[in-house]
């Protein structure tokens, strides 16, 4: 089932929760609506579900205008952030609810309901829990009951509001993989809301980044991560180091590093910033780069995070760099060590976020590599989180 949004807007008082959104969600997509709280992602999900009515714009389901359809007619399964299990019903009764409330002529026989519920409980690996009550289940189990309950009525779209928000990291990781498998197996359209970029990247096929009720960028996870079209998206998807571009003698610099040839510099006014992800920072010998002192070293499993106090940067704004464990083990970086910082890749944006009416900010090959300090920027760089 495909979903199309055209010019959808929703106000809450003076606050535009969703502002003129166009979005095409093809059948079978696994799409993440990503953004911080208050960006309108949940409202958008509720509009798709039919739990909110947009003030302007239309919602099409399989090409038909469904803007005013009630949720019952939309064939959507909605899973709430807090699961919203019916506390007074057993797990079995919860899952069976959607089947039992069907009109008499559509309602399956009791034996069929039993069979279907049991198979759904098998699917979510809770075959033993039918007689339990929600209060006796853990968060992850409740979440799976909520999913089984939503799936019981054979929805064509599954809508999930922060589905893993309230779970601890281990369970979350497991459930993410499980949801992906389920999606591939059952082939419905899934849309989920999250504020966790990691989760969006890990689970979704398509990520829609929202900001103040508007779509900032849509794309596959790698593209959104590597080629953010605005500083907002860049910042939201992962860690960044932020440097102000300094002009000296008509040349642009990041610290001592000359980036004058960057074509992105020309498309904005004079105030620009460069965003650099921690893994895009390269650390070399003291002589080769921007002089810096290692201030902190954190080994986080396979990666090592270094805090670098670069010359001329305020002490409370250290650069954050990430190197692989292997590299770290080979080079033995330590606190107090003097090193040289180089940037493998960076991206330039206007300092004023209002000024991002531009199109040509995709990564371009760097032109000037001043002082041999800067390695060429790569369009497809390293991805991951």
């Amino acid at each position: 089932m495909s979903i199309t949004l055209r010019g959808v807007s929703k106000q809450f008082g003076a606050f535009a929760a969703v502002d003129d959104i166009d979005l095409d969600i093809p059948s079978g997509a696994l799409l993440a609506l990503l953004g911080p709280s208050g960006c309108g992602k949940t409202t958008l999900l509720r509009i798709i579900a039919g739990l909110e009515t947009p003030e302007r714009g239309q919602v099409f389901i399989d090409g038909r205008d469904a803007t005013l359809w009630p949720i019952r007619d939309r064939k959507v399964g909605f899973v709430f952030q807090n699961y919203a299990l019916f506390r007074h019903m057993s797990v079995f009764e919860n899952v069976a609810f959607g089947l039992k409330v069907k009109a008499r002529r559509e309602r399956p026989a009791a034996a069929d309901i039993r069979k279907k519920v049991q198979s759904l409980l098998d699917l979510v690996q809770l075959e033993w829990a039918g007689d339990r009550y929600p209060s006796q289940l853990s968060g992850g189990q409740k979440q799976r009951v909520a999913l089984a309950r939503a799936l019981a009525v054979d929805p064509e779209v599954l809508l999930l509001d922060e589905p893993f928000g309230a779970l601890d990291a281990q369970v979350r990781h497991e459930l993410r993989r499980w949801l992906r498998r389920l999606h591939t197996e059952l082939k419905f359209t899934s849309i989920f809301v999250t504020h966790d970029q990691q989760e969006a990247i890990e689970v979704a096929d398509t990520i829609v980044v929202l900001n103040r009720g508007r779509i900032e960028q849509t794309g596959v996870p790698g593209e959104v991560y590597d080629l953010p079209q605005s500083a907002y998206v860049h910042r939201f998807l992962g860690q960044v180091n932020e440097l102000r571009v300094q002009w000296r003698d008509g040349r642009a610099h990041l610290g001592p590093i000359d980036i004058t040839g960057d074509p992105a510099l020309n498309s904005y006014g004079s105030e620009r910033i460069a965003l650099i992800r921690p893994h895009e920072i390269d650390i070399g010998g003291e002589a080769a780069g921007w002089p810096a002192v290692v201030r902190d070293v954190r080994v986080i499993g396979p990666i090592v995070r270094l805090e670098l106090c670069a010359d001329g940067r305020p002490a409370n704004e250290p650069l954050e760099a990430e190197v692989s464990r292997e590299r770290f083990d080979a080079e033995r970086f330590h606190i107090g060590q003097k090193v040289g910082v180089r940037f493998r890749r960076w991206q330039v944006y206007p300092a004023d976020p209002a000024e991002h009416a531009f199109g040509a900010t995709r990564v371009a090959e760097p032109v000037a590599v001043a002082n041999g300090l800067v390695a060429p920027r790569t369009a497809s760089g390293t991805s991951g989180g």
């Binding site: 739990l51 019952r72 019916f86 506390r87 959607g98 409330v101 006796q136 939503a150």
Partner: protein, 304 residues
């Protein structure tokens, strides 16, 4: 001063330990005092009167008590009281649920005004409530001529008493339900809708089980007030013995006739009804902790 020396089992208080102990000591005394005041208040203003009611009721022996209670006019008052409660409580149950549902599940203009209006019967003196019904439905009231022309008696008759009781007890159910339903939010209902349930199914299978304890509590309070209401009912009833006298009114009449034993006998019945209501409420509160989690039926204790 800083070096603590041992005296008996206690540290010599340093400035620091005094700081820590001082307030705690005060809290203990304060707690004791507050509990004592509360208990004394309850004893003096609740238990003592109740005791007096029952001792006075039996002051002239059980025979006099039975005679007073089985007197036809007393019996009529009891029946009228129960009937008024039987009409007013279910109606307010429905109104209260509808009002609470409307307020908590929908967004609309004038919502806060509606909440204020629901509280109005609590704010207005019952006597004034009764008088407004006289002004509306009395012989010289707004609808008086119309009602007389159609031979409908409201004031000084049972309908007036029911109306006054309805008005006075209106807030109980709604007031009890609004916070409960606000706390629960709309997620359960929206989930049920998304699963294809219609409005009635949502209410019956999802909302009602969620609010049933708040609802029962509200109904009990509503019932207690419906049976005990004096002021508003007194104004509209007309005090016709055997016809429009409820139990509280009957008690007053007997008392004014210096028939203390009979007055207290009927009063003791009324008090007994109130006590039964309270007992029912306590029973519910006692059972509620396990019910709060919805683990009421079998399997409730198996998992823990």
């Amino acid at each position: 001063m800083e070096a603590p020396a041992l005296i008996g089992d206690y540290d010599v208080p340093t400035a620091r330990s005094l700081r820590e102990r001082g307030p705690r000591q005060e809290i203990r005394w304060g707690r004791f005092l507050l509990i004592a005041v509360a208990l004394a208040f309850v004893a003096a203003f609740l238990l003592l009167p109740l005791l007096v009611v029952f001792t006075q009721a039996f002051a002239k022996g059980a025979g006099a008590y039975l005679a007073a209670v089985s007197d036809p006019t007393a019996w009529a008052a009891i029946k009228l009281t129960l009937m008024v409660a039987a009409i007013a409580v279910p109606m307010n149950l429905v109104f209260g649920v509808v009002a609470a549902w409307t307020i908590t599940k929908f967004q609309f203009r004038g919502k806060s005004a509606l909440i204020t209006l629901i509280d109005l019967p609590f704010a207005v003196s019952p006597v004034i409530a009764g008088l407004t019904f006289i002004l509306l439905f009395g012989a010289r009231g707004w609808f008086g001529v119309y009602l007389q022309a159609h031979d409908v008696r409201v004031v000084f008759a049972v309908p007036g008493i029911v109306l006054a009781t309805l008005f006075v007890t209106f807030p109980f159910v709604a007031r009890e339900l609004i916070p409960v339903m606000q706390a629960q939010g709309k997620d359960d209902e929206e989930t049920a809708l998304s699963l294809g349930a219609n409005g009635w199914q949502v209410f019956w299978h999802v909302t009602l089980p969620n609010i049933r304890w708040g609802l029962l509590y509200g109904v009990l309070l509503c019932n207690a007030r419906a049976m005990g209401e004096f002021g508003a009912v007194s104004v509209v009833s007309g005090h016709i013995r055997g016809l429009t006298n409820t139990m509280p009114l009957h008690v007053e009449i007997l008392y004014n006739e210096y028939n203390y034993a009979a007055a207290f006998a009927v009063a003791s019945l009324l008090a007994l009804l109130a006590l039964l209501t309270l007992a029912g409420k306590s029973l519910m509160e006692w059972r509620q902790p396990e019910l709060k989690h919805g683990t009421r039926r079998k399997g409730a204790r198996t998992g823990k």
